[in-house]
């Protein structure tokens, strides 16, 4: 190989090395890229203590504790004619929170030890959601919530004695548990919370009414189980 070719090769190699050093050398800029994800979030908790009225015997077995998981147990007491009150009513406060539009649905099962049509059934248990409250720092007060129930089931407009059978009936739309044999929407609305941390204890509160009118039901015991579910569709 000619000497000049060798020298040229060496020079070119040196040039490339210097170029590499120059390109991989120091820099006056640096980059920090960042991203974050916000997923839909909804939750339901107890809105506070249960209120039980019109009962004869019974009581609140497991009470609600505000901002704790909803797990309430209530003994409605005597529901036969020996209870002379107009209604036995349990008021269960609910608290909902979300960063997206929400749907609160409910499903209920009613089982009675009786064997006749006079036993307590799902239609004999009145249900409704009361006044919806969006108050407190960090709560979105805009938008409108849609209550799919008829409210307090004990209101005269929501029920009456059947003229034919004589049995008291909760007649308004979604005013008794027979309307909730499967998961059925009870309440829906726009996002509840503004951009505040979860430690903020505020939210949307709404009372859930459960009512039974004491009647000549078939004697026995009845279990009522209700499940609330909130979703962000």
């Amino acid at each position: 190989m000619p000497r000049s070719t060798i020298i040229k090769s060496l020079l070119i190699t040196t040039l490339l090395l210097v170029t590499v050093v120059t390109c991989s050398g120091q820099s006056t800029t640096g980059t920090v890229s960042m991203s974050a994800t916000v997923s839909k979030f909804v939750e339901i908790n107890s809105g506070g203590a249960v209120t039980l009225t019109g009962n004869s015997g019974g009581g609140v077995t497991t009470d609600g504790v505000a901002n704790s998981p909803l797990a309430v147990s209530i003994n409605l007491g005597e529901l036969g004619p020996s209870n002379t009150n107009n209604f036995v009513t349990a008021l269960v406060p609910l608290k909902l929170r979300s960063n997206a539009a929400y749907v609160l649905s409910m499903s209920a099962t009613v089982t009675s030890s009786g064997s006749t049509a006079n036993r307590i059934g799902a239609a004999d248990v009145g249900f409704g959601l009361g006044t919806i409250s969006r108050t407190g720092t960090g709560v979105n007060t805009g938008g409108t919530d849609t209550n799919a129930t008829s409210g307090d089931p004990t209101l005269p407009a929501n029920g009456s004695v059947n003229g034919t059978t004589g049995r008291y009936e909760f007649t308004a739309v979604r005013s008794n548990l027979s309307a909730f044999s499967s998961a059925t929407t009870a309440l829906s609305g726009p996002f509840i919370m503004n951009a505040v941390p979860r430690s903020n204890a505020n939210g949307l509160t709404v009372p859930a009414f459960f009512a039974v009118k004491p009647q000549f039901f078939e004697n026995g015991t009845t279990n009522i189980s209700v499940t609330f579910t909130v979703t962000a569709p």
Binding site: V18, T28, T31, K40, T137, F191, A195, R198
Partner: protein, 222 residues
């Protein structure tokens, strides 16, 4: 003769390239080590563990809705600086332009500078000037978060304090030597701290890009 015709332009080119290398080393910004992340759910941070590597960091804060039960997501990004002259560091931001006020905003991302320290034995220790973190960035946002009057988390300084190219730091010469190649011990390191508190933000994915730039700063004595 033909070799000389080839060699002379080559030498000139070599001198020019060498001069470019020499001038480029006067001011340098690089990785200051591996960044860290705490409090994240499905989050991560990537960077260069080698202080001789470029500053290219990718932060994924992960889930920042209440599905993340942690009180704060904190990322610490070490940044190395080198210079043979007084310097300043500026930051510019792009992104995070969410129209929904309840979505993550620049003001929701805490940003502070802490822990300026010498990078090894060749870091220049000046006695007549100090390295100055510009207001309001001299804080660890994770230690100074509070709840605002509207219930939203606020920090002493956030990405919303960046307007255009914003100077966050300046000071005297950083390096003792004048090497054209990054050394492991010839400058200073600082921690850029980023925080994001999980909240009931509006859903979505937010992103931003920050450019850190070092340039000649005010002529302060060493």
């Amino acid at each position: 003769m033909r070799l000389r015709r080839f060699a002379y332009p080559f030498v000139i080119l070599l001198v020019l390239l060498t001069a470019r290398s020499t001038s480029a080393q006067a001011l340098d910004i690089s990785s200051g080590g591996l960044p860290t992340i705490t409090g994240a759910v499905n989050g991560s941070v990537t960077g260069n563990a080698d202080v001789r590597g470029d500053l290219v960091v990718t932060i994924n804060f992960g889930e920042v809705s209440p599905l993340n039960p942690n009180s704060i997501v904190k990322v610490v990004v070490p940044i190395a600086l080198r210079s043979n002259q007084p310097y300043q560091v500026a930051v510019s931001m792009s992104g995070l332009a969410n129209a929904n006020a309840e979505a993550v905003q620049a003001s929701d991302v805490g940003f502070g500078i802490q822990n300026i320290r010498v990078l090894g034995g060749a870091g220049k220790i000046c006695t007549q000037s100090t390295h100055v973190i510009h207001s309001p960035f001299n804080n660890d946002p994770a230690n100074s978060a509070s709840v605002g009057s509207n219930g939203r988390i606020v920090y002493p300084s956030t990405l919303a304090n960046l307007s255009g190219s914003t100077t966050i730091l300046n000071g005297p010469q950083l390096s003792k030597n004048n090497s054209s190649i990054r050394q492991q011990s010839d400058g200073y390191v600082l921690d850029a701290i980023f925080t994001l508190t999980p909240q009931f933000f509006a859903t979505g994915i937010s992103s931003a890009t920050l450019i850190f730039t070092i340039s000649a700063g005010p002529n302060v004595p060493c």
